[in-house]
């Protein structure tokens, strides 16, 4: 299931309708492709469909499949059908790297996408840069991917932690105060995130304390006891996934919501959906949000994709895939080629049209570091509002990506192109 060539499937159906008479000869899709001389554009997508990040990965894959299906209806890329090859990295680096080799060497894909897990995304970058294949990272957040370890062939759709932190800090300081307590997962992502928060907080003249906790921590009482004693204005919950949820739940259960504000960088609607109603509180960043009344294209997109998601609203993860695959199309069309170097040049600083960007401001993959300068939606988590069960977030302000990211030079990225 996961790895069906969406393209050929769609096409096969059409052809069977048209040419029922010669249907007996058409055993397989590949036969048809060769006969008609249309080599599909192959996009290989590696994501942790099993393992602890699977909820996010499944959303990304759903988004990618839907996007490819739609794209094929409209003529694909450069008039060629698009084929999506999905591979499970199982949240394991060795497997992810192996799958990258498989997609590039055996399946000869034109583009690689992935992985939600930044560590694996990194490792795959090693393969794609060695093989000179265009690589889009839809949803792995660690900064150096578009920072000091950036590569000419790698583009990232989701934000950096620096962007997330910068976007929400101002709002929290303004509304609640400058004394903060951090609860941060003890690994590269958490550490960079906290550093970025601290940098911004110090600029505002704030003070802080905090605990680094194991990544899959389940019990937060010890740290919450400390936090309570510190009496901060804001408690920053930087954990991810189930840990983020449990931290939030315990925070509310312990009655701390009355004493301090809760906030953090990133929240995924996939996690938010399983937060109990009473614990839905706090200030966060959404990297994309489905409810943007002022942007007409968003509603069209949401209405079109929702049926494919069983009526759910698309998440930022669906949008990442949508943007990433459309970026491939735009780059190919601008470059009139599927060569990685040409596409990468074309994609640099290419402004995304409104029906792809689906954001209030104009966004582009910045040429200096290949990071998408997407808008950041800062706001409050809320119990389901009038917009249905997925109306769990109220956007309070939109921060333009460029403003949150700072200059490309400051990220430490120096892109060196192949000769």
């Amino acid at each position: 299931m996961s790895r069906n060539g969406v393209g050929p499937m769609v096409r096969r159906r059409r052809i069977l309708k048209v040419g029922a008479g010669i249907g007996a000869l058409q055993f397989t899709a590949p036969f048809i492709i060769q006969a008609r001389g249309e080599q599909p554009v192959k996009i290989g997508f590696i994501d942790p469909i099993t393992g602890s990040l699977s909820a996010l990965a499944v959303s990304e894959v759903e988004g990618a499949k839907w996007t490819v299906e739609q794209m094929n209806k409209k003529g694909g890329i450069l008039g060629r059908p698009v084929e999506l090859l999905v591979e499970d990295s199982a949240n394991d680096t060795g497997t992810g790297v192996q799958k990258a080799h498989k997609l590039i060497e055996r399946d000869k894909v034109d583009v690689i996408m992935g992985d939600v897990n930044s560590g694996i995304a990194y490792a795959i970058m090693g393969v794609t840069s060695e093989k000179k294949v265009l690589h889009i990272v839809p949803g792995g957040h660690t900064d150096p991917i578009t920072g000091k370890d950036c590569k000419w062939n790698t583009f990232r759709t989701c934000n950096t932690t620096a962007m997330d932190a910068a976007a929400v800090t101002g709002e929290l300081v303004k509304k609640f105060g400058k004394k903060w307590f951090f609860i941060t997962p003890d690994y590269a992502y958490g550490k960079t995130l906290q550093e970025n928060f601290v940098k911004n907080l110090k600029k505002a003249g704030g003070t802080y304390e905090g605990d680094m906790l194991p990544i899959a921590n389940t019990d937060f009482s010890a740290t919450l006891i400390k936090a309570k004693a510190y009496k901060p204005d804001v408690l920053l919950n930087n954990m991810g996934g189930a840990a983020q949820l449990n931290c939030m739940k315990q925070f509310v259960q312990f009655g701390m919501a009355k004493e301090m504000a809760l906030g953090g960088a990133l929240y995924e609607i996939e996690t938010l959906r399983s937060v109990p109603k009473e614990a839905l509180t706090g200030w966060w960043v959404m990297e994309w949000w489905w409810n943007q009344p002022n942007v007409p294209a968003v509603k069209q997109f949401v209405d079109a994709i929702s049926p494919a998601l069983g009526g759910k609203k698309p998440s930022a993860r669906h949008w990442f895939s949508y943007v990433s695959i459309n970026a491939v199309r735009l780059a190919a069309e601008k470059a009139k080629s599927l060569e990685a170097v040409k596409m990468a040049h074309a994609l640099s600083d290419l402004e995304l049209p409104p029906e792809i960007a689906l954001s209030p401001n104009k966004i582009r993959y910045r040429g200096g570091d290949h990071q998408l300068m997407s808008d950041l939606f800062v706001g409050q988590v809320q119990p389901a509002g009038p917009g249905g069960p997925d109306d769990l977030f109220k956007v309070e302000s939109v921060v333009p990506g460029e403003q949150a990211a700072g200059s490309a030079e400051a990220t430490g990225c120096k892109i060196s192109w192949p000769a």
Partner: protein, 325 residues
């Protein structure tokens, strides 16, 4: 005793046809693999896993002692190689030596604490030690890269003074490099198994009590066998790091240990080439099934259950039992 040794001899020496077939297939793999839907990197992975499982099999199949924590030595090998390349010197051979030593010596030390334990308790303690290594790699952020894994190193070209072989950006050359290392390692294993020490290992496997009564220092032999086994598995780990240009903590996790044991069992743990056959089956199964269905875990799990229930001797074990084969 005598029947035991001849059986071992048979598996190592007798079927020279077997040797020819295996090596012919391995040496020509990059040429025929694409024709059957394979790719060179998967062949390299098969060899790496096979070497890890053959290392384990010295202990499991030939000494009859069960370790369920060999991922620790595999992973330490990988980290040893990666750390060497990253911090010490840009040299592939040095990385391999350092990684093998790191994993092997860790195994020797743990082995000292292990040898008096037996059966399921031995297995439990090996898992526990494996998890300790896993946690060290996982926690020691600044040095090992922690959860994200160790990156920032690439395998170096092989420098032979007069000429260099660039295995850095060439999957096929790297594959042949792995084949050479694999060949040397299994050759060494065959020598060990044919030595008097190898016979002693078999004696312990067949009847530990009798071996003890014969005056053999059983604990010492198990320890040596455990240590040798760890060195080979660590060597495989170094190749794994070079293959991926990456080392990550999951390589040390008990799930990896389980996979290594499964490879040995699936292929046939009482046969010399069993783990290689097991690695082919296991890696291909995982690779292809996980491309076809998101429920590949059920398939892999089911294969585990079926192999245990119906083919405990593994594929090679089944084949070799037939008198005509």
């Amino acid at each position: 005793m005598s029947t035991v040794t001849t059986r071992a001899d048979a598996t190592v020496v007798r079927p020279w046809q077997q040797l020819v077939v295996i090596w012919a297939l391995l040496l020509t793999a990059p040429f025929w693999l694409p024709l059957v839907g394979g790719y060179t990197a998967v062949a390299a992975r098969v060899l790496v896993m096979a070497l890890a499982a053959m290392g384990l099999n010295l202990l499991l199949g030939y000494t009859g002692v069960l370790s369920f924590g060999h991922a620790a030595y595999f992973g330490l090998g990988a980290y040893g190689a990666g750390l060497t390349l990253k911090y010490v010197a840009h040299s592939t051979p040095l990385a391999i030596v350092a990684g093998t030593l790191l994993g092997g010596i860790a195994g020797m030390l743990f082995g000292l604490l292990l040898v008096r334990r037996r059966g399921v308790y031995f297995a439990m303690v090996t898992i526990a030690f494996g998890q300790v290594c896993f946690y060290i790699a996982y926690k020691w952020d600044d040095f090992t890269g922690g959860y994200d894994g160790l990156r920032g190193f690439v395998r170096a070209p092989l420098d032979f003074g007069l000429f260099t072989i660039d295995i850095t950006n060439n999957g096929m050359l790297f594959y042949y490099f792995v084949v050479v290392v694999f060949g040397l390692a299994v050759g060494l294993q065959a020598l060990i198994l044919r030595s008097p020490f190898g016979r002693t290992m078999l004696a312990i496997r067949e009847n530990e009590r009798r071996a003890r009564f014969l005056g053999l220092p059983v604990e010492k032999h198990i320890w040596i066998s455990f240590s040798i086994s760890c060195f080979f598995t660590a060597l495989a780990g170094t190749l794994y790091a070079l293959l991926n240009n990456f080392a990550d903590p999951l390589g040390l996790n008990y799930i990896m240990s389980g996979n290594i044991v499964m490879i040995a069992v699936m292929g046939g743990m009482r046969t010399f080439w069993g783990p290689l056959v097991g690695a082919v089956l296991f890696v291909l199964l995982q690779d292809y099934v996980s491309s076809m269905t998101t429920n590949w875990m059920s398939f892999v799990g089911l294969v585990f259950v079926l192999v245990v229930l119906f083919f405990p001797r593994g594929l090679m074990g089944v084949l070799q039992r037939k008198p005509s084969a």
